[in-house]
């Protein structure tokens, strides 16, 4: 049974990807990024932190493909190592807000009433702040540490998951199969967690994929304004921030490469979203 299941899932995934090359490219990109992050320590040609002032600010060359920065550090190596940090922050933050937001949202959507109202108003309050400013305030208050960036990013993503899960569960809570699950001996909580949540997951996956891109931008943004990871830790946002000082003197490579890395990561996750929905929804299978 389970092997039949798996093979049919694979076949369906292959079908969706064949009909949708953009998703395939995005998926490949995301996979590549993940591999890059995982194997970063073995891939870097130079030590990303060691400075060599004699080789500072060199344009891209055979030795340094992406050039070197003001301290003579290899941009390519820093870029690769940075992917690790940026992805970790984004993935953890999104995972936290998804886990918390979808459960809370699903419970609200199912139960309605007072719980729903209370949580709903809390979400409204959260949304009333400009989210990036809220994240800045949190990091400033809690301190410039990676955990705090993750927490801040997770909190500002939370409202979307709560609202999304709430709406998706709400439209399904009165369907026959939900009541049927109750008649089959499931408790309310089991119905929400084991029946409704898996059914709203495909829609949530799209949201998660889009959010991953956004979370990367957010983390980089925080670092860019000096509220995130501190130098000399390699991070895309810091690299862009530091490189920006040299852009007027024609050292474009300091900004261009981390910027491109950011852009392609965000693009990959956004494009992946749509394809994911088609893959995860059993109703799309033929």
């Amino acid at each position: 049974m389970s092997t039949i299941e798996t093979s049919s899932t694979l076949r369906h995934t292959a079908f969706v990807l064949r009909g949708n090359p953009v998703t395939a490219i995005a998926a490949a990109g995301a996979l590549l990024l993940a591999l890059l992050a995982i194997s970063a320590p073995w891939l870097t040609p130079y030590d990303p932190i060691a400075s060599e002032v004699s080789a500072a600010l060199q344009p891209p060359s055979a030795a340094h493909w992406f050039g070197t920065d003001q301290l003579g550090r290899d941009v390519l190596s820093r870029l690769i190592v940075a992917s690790r940090l940026d992805l970790t922050i984004a993935v953890t933050a999104v995972a936290v807000s998804f886990a918390l937001g979808s459960v809370v949202g699903a419970l609200c959507g199912y139960a309605g009433g007072r719980l729903d109202n209370a949580v709903g108003r809390f979400v409204d309050v959260l949304m009333a702040f400009p989210l990036f400013v809220l994240a800045m305030a949190m990091v400033a208050a809690l301190g410039n540490r990676v955990e705090n960036i993750v927490i801040a990013t997770a909190i500002i993503n939370l409202p979307f998951y709560i609202r999304f899960a709430r709406a998706e569960v709400n439209i399904r809570r009165n369907l026959g199969w939900v009541e049927a699950a109750r008649a089959c001996g499931e408790s309310h909580v089991a119905v929400v967690l084991r029946f409704l949540l898996p059914n709203v997951l495909p829609a949530m996956a799209v949201q998660m994929s889009l959010n991953l891109g956004w979370a990367i931008l957010n983390a980089a943004g925080l670092s860019f304004i000096g509220l995130g990871v501190k130098p000399p830790t390699p991070e895309w946002g810091i690299m862009v921030a530091e490189g920006a000082r040299f852009i007027s003197t024609g050292r474009w490579w300091l900004v261009a490469f981390p910027g491109l890395a950011l852009m392609s990561a965000v693009l990959c996750f956004n494009l992946l979203g749509d394809g994911l929905r088609d893959i995860l929804d059993p109703r799309m299978r033929t």
Partner: protein
Amino acid sequence: MIGSESTQPLLEVENLKVTFSTRRGLVEAVRGVSLSLQPGEMLGLVGESGSGKSVTGFAITHLLDRAGHITEGLIRFKGQDITRAGGADLRSLHGAAMAMIFQNPRAALNPIRTVGQQIADAILAHRRLSRAEAQAEALSLLKAVQIRDPERRMGAYPHELSGGMCQRVMIAVAISCNPSLLIADEPTTGLDVTTQKVVMDLLARIAADRGMATILITHDLGLAARYCARVVVMEQGRLVEEAEPLTLFHRPQHPYTRRLVAASPTATSRIEDLVPDGERIPLVAVTELPPPHGTPLLLDVKAVSKRFDDGTVGVADFSMTMRGGESVGLVGESGSGKSTTSRMICRLIDASAGEILFDGQSIGQIPARDFHRSELRRDIQIVFQDPNDSLNPRYTAFDCIAHPLLRLMNMRSGDKLRQRVEECADRVGLPRELLSRFPHQLSGGQKARVGIARAIACKPRLLVLDEPTAALDVSVQAVVLQLLNKLRREDNLAFLFVSHDLNVVRMMCDRTIVLRTGVIVEQGESRALFANPQTDYTRELVDAVPHIAPAPA
């Protein structure tokens, strides 16, 4: 064709073929349909889902969606070929010459414009009038469709009106420019029988008064027979029979029509007659059901009420008793509280007051949220209304049927479970190879069978059936009803059969309870109750059911 026509037909359709391009290639939805319509005539276009009846209607009005194309044939309207009409021709055709009424009036009306504005919009789209004149015209149309207090209703939004009222507004929009052809696609499906009667009577009268020809597209043979002079039966994109209603019912020629006529429940039909001999499910050799008297009460509902959080009363002071193996019908219109009652008995929701005894034990005291842990959970099971949404989309048919066994019978995955699920599938006539399929890969009838198999898997003693066939085609309904009847006899199951279809309840139930706005209006032995209703409300319900007079002896 009846009589000798010298006049030119209003509409002629010749050998119409419509093809849809889909993910799996081209699908022919209409495969050569020819019909003609005289001015002022009402034609019934009858068929089950997938028969192509709606597509034919859409093709005539040029409202096919982008995937659909007329590949062959000719549509002539007032002698003019409109098969490939487009642009300006089409605009003048729509509304002014032909208009359409849709199945779900609420969805067909714009929710953010008042009904008065919407009728005026339709008028202004085709006639040169000032806004004020159009408004005045809209008001007179609302009067024509007999909306009470039309001045006030002009400013009402669709959500403030009932389904029947919305459909009247739709009719007002449709007739606003005096079209000569009206196509009504299932205009009363989803409305209560009494509302259906009022709306159809109104439609028929307006069409007659204004000399409009009407095509009534419906799945309900009885409805078509009641209002149409001529009925056309479609099956799988083909026209299989065309006749006057009486001829059609009493001497159907085509095998499909014969099946359809047999499957349509009438005031006198029996369960056994619904399906032709060949496909009939053989009844188990139980000569007679054990007499329900004398056996102890299985269910004893005492003065149960339901008041919702917002203060509305769903059910008031409802009492009933049932014995093992007995079948009781619960009928009423939407809002009568029949679903609420069935869910209270099924312990899915709590009653506000009253007592429910099952087999002598008080189950009303156990909160619905804890009832899943009760020993009696497996004894009371339910079959839901719409098979399309009563199965978890992420569960295969096997998982669906295994679910109660795992939860309520403490079975573990393995050969024993598989064997038991297959047994259940066999009992409901679901081929075993379909067990690995997901709900969206099953037909409506197959989904209904899975739902029934799930409900009987734990061998319950009371089965609550909440409109189990309301969403099914009549021929599928016939088979499902027979199946239910068989299962009931085999297991000596008690049925609480909730339905709005009086003919079905009469066949399926020993006793019937009539509910109206949460209160029992009348109850008694089914046959007597429908043959000789004691209250006006029941009589009104019985009269509203479109039926065909029994064949002359």
